[in-house]
Symmetry: C2
């Protein structure tokens, strides 16, 4: 893959036009959209409207002019991106909080079973939250095992299998249909964390007969820093699963101000408190971009961008820990290196923003909507220079930042 | 109180200058700042910076340039408004979610006691969440009783007394020191909901030896719709109380990505997921207003504003359900009327925005930072006209909106 090859790919890229919908800084090749998506150009105006007109001018009246329905409206926007038919997705709270609600609900719905099975090395908050959730259900326990031992861990005490579809470090992707079936074969429920999947790879929750899912909106969906997460519950479970964090926004009639809690029908019961409207406003503008995105083109371009960096890594003898098969991975590429931290910092100093994942992973996100093939080729070229010259040995690059 | 009297009070009002810090719409007298505070004029610029520079230009780097510490930084800003010494307040999640965390933590910290005592007619989410929280602790139960029966309900099975300092309907205010002492007399912990107190009335959590508190930032603090809430835990309990919703942002070392959960020291353990940065940015700009506000002047002006509307109500023979003693109430005034809903709508049609609380309460918020005495006098005058002429009988005013 030469520079000219990359330019030629850009010339026929069906997604090239989306790049203009994002406000990217000059001099930066942004390979961290898997951590924080770039700013869509529509967001500043949408946010100014939310602040100045909706809040400032309309004040409390805005609750009846779009705010109160925002969690469902945004859920409906996300649904087609994860293979969900209508009325199964709602936006609110963080991925972590939503995991807690769903895990506790799943364990309570099946009191004859006590175990939640998950993977060691899963994104930490999934395991942390599972630890907390099992403490809220008498007799429940978390059994986290290595990926190779997952199948054997499923048994007749398994209430729930909880997996992250695309691994945050390696980019490994589970076969959603197969693992959902494995959970169902032992009569357990299946909960998917789609944080590194939505907007990155094709997802078909309904097709896989998944039971529950959560996901993040500030990565590939570009919803803004800390944008509220989403919750999916399959229609067939919506009236039986109950939110343990039973706040007023999940009440059947929140403005009747009853003392007793009656869960709302459908997805609304997964709401808790008053939603952060300004953060939702940014997310809503971001989601509009996805209306006409061709998901197959996203997958194709992601694979091509991966190939460019994989080839650069191969030429350098780097240890690529991400799968070579595009169907078995997400939309980032990771290299293991004992000095991954320093290399990440050296890349940032050269305008290539990726990130480091403890202890030894250089992670580079590939976002087909706003990266060109040439961008990624140039990133590979800069990486090659840094590794070949060992310029990462500059002591300045070893200084640890609080957030890595 | 005549129109001239009101104008005279405005002429010597030490808080008059704060009005210019808010962007209020023309033609509106806004008496709903107890539900959604008005827009501070500094927020649009702060939000544009958060969106365009921090997110758009600095991208992921902003986590190390102020974002990661925002929950603690904003907590430190709120602390002096609630009588809290440093390092006892953190901002994040909703009031409802924070109540869940604290109630479960308090019940678990005292397994020999099983009961949480609260008040019937408390703000509904407090009771709804308590219902959910007791279901997460074996043997726990909620005992909600009428205010007159609270003292008798405290006994040697009481783990926690949970009260809302200022009542959302009536404006009744509990004596914080006295009720905290009552809880302590029976060796229970005391949890205050300050949603209708902070920024409205003097609060001294440390002085009262309160144990825990939560509160809302989108009412008198003007943090914006659905702005994240705050959590207070007294220093002496910080290492023993544990967050049941154990997410990665509350981990001692979130970026070391350990499988096991180790709670952070201090207040950070009450965080759960990634905080909604854009909503926090609006709140941070709003809180700057409070740096030099004289809380005693706020209390004095609140009482004066109340007197203006109380006199108007008295002249109309309205049933004022709020206490006449300023020390026994918050900063809103409520009238009971069988047609409170229609009167609220008729007021809004005349540019006086208050709200209705089911089933029969007209509630008018008195926010000393941006209301003049004349504003409130004019609101009373319009109310008098609507009640005297019964113009609220227009059928258009009976049409129910989803959010009331």
């Amino acid at each position: 893959m030469t520079h000219d090859d990359a330019i030629a790919l850009d010339a026929t890229d069906p997604l090239a036009r989306y790049r203009d919908l994002f406000a990217l800084p000059d001099g930066v090749i942004y390979l961290d959209g898997n951590s924080l998506g770039a700013l869509p150009g529509s967001v500043p105006g949408a946010m100014a409207d939310a602040v100045t007109r909706q809040w400032g001018d309309r004040l409390i009246r805005s609750w009846n002019e779009g705010w109160i329905d925002a969690p469902q409206r945004l859920g409906d926007r996300i649904a087609p991106l994860i293979g969900a038919a209508a009325d199964q997705v709602i936006v609110g709270d963080s991925t972590s909080a939503n995991l807690y609600k769903l895990i506790v609900a799943a364990l309570r719905a099946n009191p004859g079973r006590h175990t939640i099975v998950s993977e060691t090395g899963n994104f930490p908050t999934d395991l942390h939250i599972a630890e907390g959730a099992v403490a809220s259900v008498p007799g429940a326990r978390l059994n986290a095992v290595a990926r190779a031992d997952l199948a054997a861990a499923l048994d007749d005490d398994t209430a729930l299998l909880m997996l992250t579809h695309v691994h945050y470090k390696t980019s490994d992707r589970f076969d959603m249909a197969r693992w959902t079936q494995a959970a169902h074969d032992t009569s357990a429920l299946m909960l998917w964390d789609l944080s590194h999947s939505v907007g990155a790879v094709p997802v078909d929750l309904d097709g896989a007969r998944a039971d529950m899912a959560v996901g993040c909106t500030y990565k590939y969906l570009n919803g803004g820093p800390g944008a509220p997460a989403f919750t999916y519950v399959a229609k067939r479970h919506q009236e039986t699963l109950a939110n343990p964090v039973s706040g007023w926004m999940g009440h059947a009639a929140p403005f009747e101000f009853d003392d007793g809690y009656t869960p709302a029908p459908g997805m609304k019961r997964w709401l808790v408190g008053t939603p952060p409207i300004l953060s939702l406003a940014a997310l809503e503008a971001s989601l509009a971009i996805w209306n006409d995105v061709d998901q197959a083109a996203v997958a194709t371009k992601s694979a091509r961008l991966f190939d460019i960096l994989a080839a650069a890594g191969d030429a350098l003898g780097l240890d690529c820990v991400s799968p070579r098969n595009p169907a078995a991975r997400g939309s980032h590429i990771s290299f293991r290196h004992p000095h991954a931290y320093e290399i990440t910092q050296a890349l940032i100093a050269r305008g290539v923003i990726g990130d480091f994942r403890d202890p030894d992973i250089l992670r580079l996100g590939l976002t087909p909507l706003y990266l060109s093939h040439e961008d990624v080729w140039r990133a590979g070229d800069i990486l090659a220079d840094i590794v070949a010259t060992e310029s990462w040995r500059d002591p300045a690059f070893a200084e640890r930042l609080p957030v890595t």
